[in-house]
């Protein structure tokens, strides 16, 4: 652990400006923060003098935000760092799976190299925690997991991570149970899954096996559920039931959950209550080519929601860049959240719920004792950061500066 140092002249949000009860802006002030042992150990206003001899890094008024969390990516699938290739049209997900199986091993770059390229993008865009899915299926065995672990090891101390053992070709369909179980012993912390109906063909058996694996491996669950409307909803309800029976509340996430976007809001409300009761969270990539879950409603009902980039230039999609702040901005734009408060609170979807100000405008982050996992951005407040997606100037993970473009900052304004 490096020695303590001061970040001087950081801008922190201190409250909302109100006009007749309507939030019209954000108040900020400048502070000096002492970083020690990976934590924020002191926060003093700039009017107070620093009296010790610890080194100082002047960040010249940059806004400080909690560093970002990428809750859904596939480090083993990206083509970043390899040559351009577009997406081959297919008629079914099964054709896509076959293409992926062929293409990935044929690339000139290694899985580890490409994963490292993406991890690097994450650090420069302010991310210090990733949840990655890793494909596990009979032909590839645990090889992707090993490659991804190697990549993550080279980033040791720069970011934290969770690994989902993901039976992309179907838990039942590809008979992946033993491999998933093995993956959970080899460093994966979540059991993955994909469309128990469409891919596995047996909702109940697929969900039960997933839950059994989680219980046996003392792991969480993160299920990719693209199945549409009531098929998806039925699957969610069954998973909620099994989650409660197995006592897995708070450890289960459903990624995509498209079904929630397909049904009327009045019905989604009831499903949200079931999810909240079972402690199931929802992860969305904010797709623009189809409907997705009503994030505002879910939040109101107490369902934790996180945003993830998902596809980043892979055989499924030529788009995506790992810029999670941009993804949060997209969520605000598509949801019609344009006012100061709505924009500012959107940050919570990419920070595991942290925002500098709570709904009432009280300063709730950072606190002395918090991990020094932060990002400094070229913006005046959280709302501007979400809407304008300004440059990330410095990323810090537990007190370590892991990305720093302070020197080469060009002011585009």
């Amino acid at each position: 652990m490096s020695t303590a140092f001061w970040l001087t002249n950081t801008t922190l949000e201190t409250g909302y400006q109100n006009n007749n009860g309507v939030v019209t802006g954000t108040n900020t002030e400048r502070f000096h923060l002492l970083i020690d042992g990976g934590k924020i150990s002191k926060i003093i206003p700039v009017t107070e003098a620093i009296t010790d001899d610890f080194p100082q890094k002047d960040v010249k008024g940059l806004l400080m935000l909690p560093s970002f969390v990428e809750k859904h990516c596939h480090l083993d699938k990206t083509l970043l760092g390899d040559r351009w290739r577009s997406v081959t049209p297919v008629n079914s997900i099964f054709e896509r799976l076959e293409i992926e199986k062929k293409v990935l091993p044929s690339l000139e770059t290694t899985t580890q190299e490409r994963a490292e390229k993406l991890l690097n993008n994450y650090l420069t865009s302010g991310v210090t925690h990733v949840r990655t899915h890793v494909d596990i299926y009979p032909e590839v065995g645990l090889k992707n997991l090993e490659e991804v672990k190697k990549a993550l090891q080279t980033f040791e101390g720069k970011l934290s991570y969770e690994i989902v053992a993901f039976p992309q070709h179907g838990l039942l369909r590809s008979n992946a149970k033993n491999l998933i179980s093995e993956a959970l012993h080899q460093g994966a912390n979540y059991v993955g899954g994909v469309d128990p109906a469409t891919v596995d063909g047996d909702i109940e058996a697929s969900l039960q096996q997933m839950v059994d694996l989680a219980v046996e491996g003392n792991a969480g669950i993160d299920l990719h559920l693209h199945d549409a409307d009531h098929l998806g909803i039925f699957t969610m309800k069954r998973l909620a039931r099994l989650t409660k029976e197995a006592g897995l509340q708070g450890k289960v996430a459903i990624s995509h959950a498209f079904g929630l976007g397909d049904i009327p809001l009045s019905q989604a409300k009831g499903v949200a209550e079931i999810l909240a009761d079972a402690g199931i969270s929802i992860i969305t990539s904010v797709p623009i080519d189809r409907k997705f879950p009503p994030v505002g409603l879910l939040r109101k009902k107490g369902v934790p929601v996180a945003v993830g980039c998902d596809n980043i230039f892979d055989v499924w999609s030529p788009f995506g860049n790992g810029n999670i702040l941009e993804r949060a901005g997209r969520l605000a734009e598509i949801s019609g959240w344009v006012d100061e408060q709505s924009l500012a609170q959107t940050l919570s979807f990419i920070t595991d719920g942290k925002t500098p100000l709570n709904h009432q405008g009280e300063q709730v982050w950072p606190n002395v004792g918090d991990d020094a996992s932060i990002v400094l951005v070229d913006a005046s407040c959280s709302a501007e950061a979400i809407a304008r997606r300004p440059g990330r100037v410095m990323t810090m993970h537990k007190g370590e500066i892991v990305s720093d473009s302070f020197g080469e900052r060009i002011d585009e304004k």
Binding site: V22, T24, G25, R83, W84, R85, S86, V87, T88, P89, I288, D289, F313, S317, P318, F319, N321, G329, R330, A332, E333, I334, S335, G336, V338, D339, E340, L343, A379, S380, C381, A383, E384, A387, R388, R389, E412, K413
Partner: protein
């Protein structure tokens, strides 16, 4: 004024598609030398050939050359861009809230309109756009003052970009009694007649449209109307506009911006509306709003000319907007699942005034000798990659001159 004569060497151009089992799987490129003279492309030769010349040489370092981009709907006069951050308010009365806000906001912003418009144009140039259509408020609130400021900027940037100005009665042509102001604006440098929601804002579709058409005919100006009106209200407005277009003989001179109603009807119905638009040469400009997008690929397939624009770039209407047409094209591709090589490459047409580098048969159709020397160099292997990955822009050229960036 004659432009410089010089050679751009080692220019990457697309030359054809690669096929596998009859489908396009990639794009072929080769290197060329391109001679620029008198603001146009005068010669294109293979880089395999040794170039013997006394003319100045600029090495393009094998960057891909694309036609420069067009942002066909922006409001240079209202942006907060480069000014302090301010989020929009919650519009309790919808668009009326925004109009009320302008009564105070526009006079207050007037002193910074020029500076911000210049900064925004610089952003657009960096993104590779050299042709811009800006809608400029002309209304009783600000009179012709925003127009004057905008025209100053257009003049200052005439060597860097072509900017057309729409005289835009934001507060309603009839509602705000702006007819004579618009007439005045058209005499003083605005080149198109604007308008907004003849039904919802003006309250009289027929009279509003007829007045627009009269103004256009008397000034020999083109038309660009903002129509957000939803569902069949919007469609009816399009139909009346098409009828008046035909009566006035204004085919090919009318644009509908937004045309959101097309997102509310069935594809079959939209297809019929598209036929009508094609028949009258009415084009569509969309900002590709991700919450409600009109069926752009369908319109294009039917023959409607569709362009993209950024619309708001952080102003009191919207806090978003990046000023990057290539980003817009990428969003359009993502929105409509255009992710194969051919579809991605062809998406370029929406931001280049219909120009693509290759046609459907994979023949190079841009650039040609005689084309304006308006182009952008990007760090990409082909158009498809540029659209999908929004690759960085290295240098933008307008009429043969480098206007931003370095090669």
């Amino acid at each position: 004024m004659a432009g410089k004569t010089y050679w751009l060497t080692n220019v990457k151009l697309e030359t054809g598609y690669r096929y596998e089992n009859g489908s396009v799987t990639g794009t072929k490129t080769e290197q060329f030398h391109v001679r620029i003279e008198d603001r146009t492309i005068r010669e294109i030769v293979s880089a395999d050939k040794l170039l013997i010349t006394d003319l100045p040489i600029q090495d393009a370092n094998n960057y891909l050359m694309l036609p420069s981009f067009r942002d066909m709907h922006i409001h240079l006069d209202k942006t907060y861009y480069s000014g302090p951050w301010k989020a929009p308010t919650i519009p309790s009365k919808g668009i009326i809230t925004r109009l009320e806000e302008e009564e105070k906001l526009l006079p207050r912003q007037l002193p910074v309109v020029e500076e911000r418009a210049k900064n925004l144009l610089d952003l657009l140039l960096r993104a590779g756009s050299t042709h811009i259509r800006t809608h400029c408020n002309v209304d009783p609130v600000i009179g012709l003052k925003n127009l004057e400021a905008t025209l100053q900027v257009v003049e200052a940037y005439k060597g860097k970009a072509s900017v057309e100005v729409v005289a835009f009665p934001q507060h309603g042509l009839l509602r705000s009694q702006s007819v004579s102001l618009i007439r005045e604006a058209l005499k003083n440098g605005a080149s198109l007649v604007g308008g907004v929601d003849p039904a919802t804002i003006d309250g009289n579709i027929e009279k509003s449209l007829q007045t627009v058409m009269e103004l256009a005919v008397e000034s020999n100006a083109n038309i660009d109307l903002h129509i957000h009106d939803p569902g069949h209200l919007g469609i009816f407005t399009f139909k009346r506009l098409a009828a008046l277009t035909e009566e006035a003989g204004w085919q090919g001179r009318v644009t509908i911006s937004h045309a959101l109603a097309l997102a509310d009807i069935s594809l079959e119905e939209a297809s019929d509306v598209a036929d009508m638009l094609v028949h009258q040469g009415i084009s569509i400009t969309s900002s590709v709003p991700i919450g409600k997008t009109i069926p752009i690929p369908l319109l294009q397939k039917k023959g409607v000319e569709v362009s993209l624009g950024d619309d708001s770039i952080t102003d009191h209407w919207s806090p978003f907007g990046k000023g990057d047409s290539l980003e817009k094209a990428g969003i359009l591709a993502e929105r409509f699942r255009l992710s194969d090589e051919f579809s991605l490459g062809q998406t370029l047409r929406y931001i280049t005034g219909g120009v693509t580098t290759l046609n459907a048969d994979g023949q190079r159709i841009w650039p040609h000798v005689g084309d304006d020397a308006d182009f952008v160099f990007v760090d990409a292997s082909c158009s498809a990659e540029a659209v999908a990955r929004r690759t960085s822009r290295v240098a933008t050229f307008f009429k043969g001159n480098l206007v931003v960036g370095t090669l």
